[in-house]
């Protein structure tokens, strides 16, 4: 018997009992539909999160810091007393130069974080100010601003601000095309068009050390520390991102040379101030961007060797992947249970079919059909149910996930900039579902097929009808 004969016979035999076949198929379709939509949700979630990380280049960057961090158990070294929690190498321009020269490094620059009081129009807000070099202009999220542009130079008196910062100032910012939507939204904030804010002057007040002399100290802290104003022009507004770039905690970003020139205290602790231990050229952290994900691994090895502490998002990637694997497995098992139930449906259908076709089996054996031929006929029928069920199930799963996407996007994510696809259908999932459905169906058809082939021809031929 050729495969083509087996397929034709399977199709004809299943069509003969089409109602029962359809009912069995519905079971498989629901099983595969459940499996594929569950797993595609897990994969989609993983993709959405990792893509977000990737799009913001978080897997190709790390932050060198004086303090060490770990995803497991808080500060690195907590469970390893021999490991220092302070970097052995001072974080200064010399180190930046060394790192910058490494072949795997694309950019390295100090992360300056300056607490400021910012004033726009008549409102003020206290926030942290960050800084970026010009070279970061080509990387996300700075190459895709909500509105405006990147800095014109490293020393320009310009600023990029976040939407959150503007909210702190009582402004809900939107672009012209989204104005109508925002006008319907119930908010206590003042609605402002983003382009009207571009070019506006922003006053930044930072703390500056006036004097550390004992006489000044005796006169109180207000005699030692003063506030100085720096005026900058807003040139860009950052997009709202869950996982943003290196300056993610800073709501105002200045060009790096401008930020360096800004007056600031220049020490972390009041004791440093008293002991006059100004760190001067030393930084709290250095941001490093590598050319690729592989390069990040090489750089980490170098830093580990030099006993330099760093924090890299990709440290958590393995943990995250494990978590996603567990989630995918749980979702997959739920779908698998539905498919197993469908498998029992196939067994039932096939056994019923054997009872009804017992005489036919006898005839086939009488005219020369071998046990293997009979087995293959029933095996192919089960496989056919699996294949058609898988195709139906994939269509059902795909359809359901599209509907779920529409509902979620229209009902719960109205403010999102772009349509969020919560599900992912990679080819391996589609191919795997088809294969899996066929395997389950063949397994379900195994016992009926063996049973059919073992029917004695004389017993089978005695059956009337």
């Amino acid at each position: 018997m050729t495969i083509s004969d087996l397929i034709t016979m399977a199709r004809q035999n299943l069509w003969r009992t089409r109602l029962r076949t359809m009912l069995t198929l519905i079971g498989v379709i629901i099983g595969i539909g459940a499996l594929i939509s569950m797993v595609s949700f897990g994969i989609g979630l993983e993709r959405n999160i990792t893509d977000k990380f990737k799009s913001n280049d978080l897997f190709t960057s790390l932050t060198i810091s004086t303090k060490a961090f770990s995803f497991k158990g808080g500060p690195r070294g907590r469970n390893k007393p021999e490991q220092k929690t302070e970097s052995a190498v001072p974080l200064n321009d010399s180190l930046i130069t060394v790192i910058q020269k490494r072949p795997e490094v694309a950019i390295a620059y100090p992360r300056l974080t300056i607490p400021v009081r910012a004033a726009l129009y008549h409102d003020t807000s206290e926030t942290n100010l960050g800084s970026l070099p010009m070279s970061m202009a080509k990387y996300p999220p700075y190459n895709q601003l909500y509105d405006g542009r990147y800095f014109s130079s490293d020393s320009a008196l310009e600023a990029i601000v976040s939407l959150d910062f503007l909210r702190q100032l009582g402004l809900e910012v939107c672009t012209k095309d989204k104005l109508a939507h925002y006008q319907q939204t119930d908010t206590a904030l003042t609605l402002a068009l983003s382009d009207t804010l571009i070019g506006k002057e922003l006053s930044l007040y930072s703390a500056a050390l006036k004097s550390t002399s004992p006489f000044a100290m005796m006169g109180g802290i207000e005699n030692m520390i003063g506030e100085e104003e720096t005026k900058v022009k807003i040139v860009g507004i950052l997009k709202e991102e869950q996982f943003s770039g290196p300056a993610m905690r800073e709501e105002i970003i200045l060009p790096i040379a401008t930020a360096k020139k800004m007056p600031s205290l220049g020490f972390d602790r009041i004791s440093d101030m008293i002991s006059n231990k100004n760190k001067g050229n030393q930084y709290a952290s250095i941001y490093v961007k590598t050319k690729s994900m592989d390069d990040l691994g090489k750089l980490k090895k170098f830093l580990d060797k030099q006993k330099i502490n760093y924090f890299a998002v990709d440290d958590g990637l393995a943990e995250m992947k494990k978590a996603f694997l567990i989630l995918d497995s749980v979702l997959g098992i739920i779908g698998l249970i539905s498919l197993l139930v469908a498998g029992f449906g196939i067994i039932n259908t096939m056994l019923m079919s054997i009872l009804e076709r017992k005489r036919e089996i006898g005839i086939m054996k009488a005219v020369g059909g071998k046990n293997r031929d009979i087995r293959m006929i029933f095996f192919f029928e089960a496989g056919f149910i699996g294949l058609v069920g898988a195709l139906g199930g994939i269509s059902l799963g795909y359809g359901l996930t599209r509907i779920a996407n529409l509902i979620v996007n229209n009902q719960y994510m109205k403010n999102a900039d772009e349509f969020v696809d919560m599900f992912s259908f990679p080819w391996w999932l589609i191919g795997g579902s088809v294969l899996f459905s066929i395997i389950i169906s063949l397994l379900a058809g195994l016992y009926p097929a063996i049973r059919a082939s073992s029917i004695h021809p004389i017993d089978a031929l005695r059956q009337t009808g």
């Binding site: 083509s4 004969d5 005839i363 046990n371 021809p457 031929l461």
Partner: protein, 221 residues
């Protein structure tokens, strides 16, 4: 061509043992038309099943062209039937959901013929039994005589050496019976070895070269 040597087939029913074939020995030559005559329950169908390899003997030997087939397994029997034996049943044993052509093509599927070849051979077989115009009719749309002719075409389609006919006219009226007997006789003239089981002495006498009588599992000339 076929030789039975002390063949016994014993069925056990609780404590009782029934000998459906009792120490049967006989030889059937190639091209012979042999009728095995016996009443209902005499063991004639059991003997046909043993010859067809649909059942196995409790003891004894069945030689087909010198090969002992009594020790064959199920698949060897199937292959033996496919190559050497065509069976015609009293109740036709057609698959009713299939057309006459599909029914006749069935053995050729197992024999591994291509679709075109099996169609051609099946058409020829059906034309030979006078059913060229009924090929596309479902088996359940055919009369008793037509159904039996389809069964004969199916038995012949793979060109077997031996035709086993189990009461081939048992379910037919006298006119149709004659048509079927004529077909069987024409097959004999083409050199086929035919073993026909019947309870009707007259039919046996009309067509057979030799008549064997079976009674309580005992075969006699």
């Amino acid at each position: 061509m076929i030789e039975l040597v002390s063949v016994n087939k014993i069925y056990s029913k609780g404590p009782h043992q029934i000998a459906a074939s009792n120490n049967i020995s006989c030889t059937i030559q190639q091209g012979e038309f042999v009728a095995i005559v016996g009443k209902s329950g005499s063991g004639k169908s059991t003997l046909l099943n043993l010859l067809a390899g649909l059942d196995t003997a409790t003891s004894g030997k069945i030689l087909f062209e010198g090969t002992d087939i009594s020790s064959f397994n199920a698949n060897q029997y199937a292959q033996h039937r496919l190559n050497n034996i065509g069976i015609i049943f009293q109740s036709f044993n057609l698959i009713f959901s299939k057309t006459a052509l599909e029914n006749v093509m069935l053995p050729l599927i197992f024999a591994g013929y291509s679709t075109a070849a099996r169609k051609q051979k099946a058409q020829q077989a059906l034309e030979m039994v006078g059913l060229g115009d009924r090929m596309q009719h479902k088996a359940n749309e055919l009369s008793g005589g037509e159904a039996q002719r389809v069964a004969i075409a199916r038995a012949l389609v793979n060109d077997p050496k031996v035709l086993l006919a189990d009461e081939p006219t048992g379910n037919l009226d006298s006119a149709t019976t004659q048509e079927i007997l004529d077909i069987l006789l024409s097959l004999k003239t083409r050199g086929k070895t035919i073993i026909m089981i019947t309870h009707d002495q007259e039919i046996a006498a009309q067509v057979a070269d030799r008549i064997l009588t079976i009674k309580d599992g005992l075969l006699s000339e």
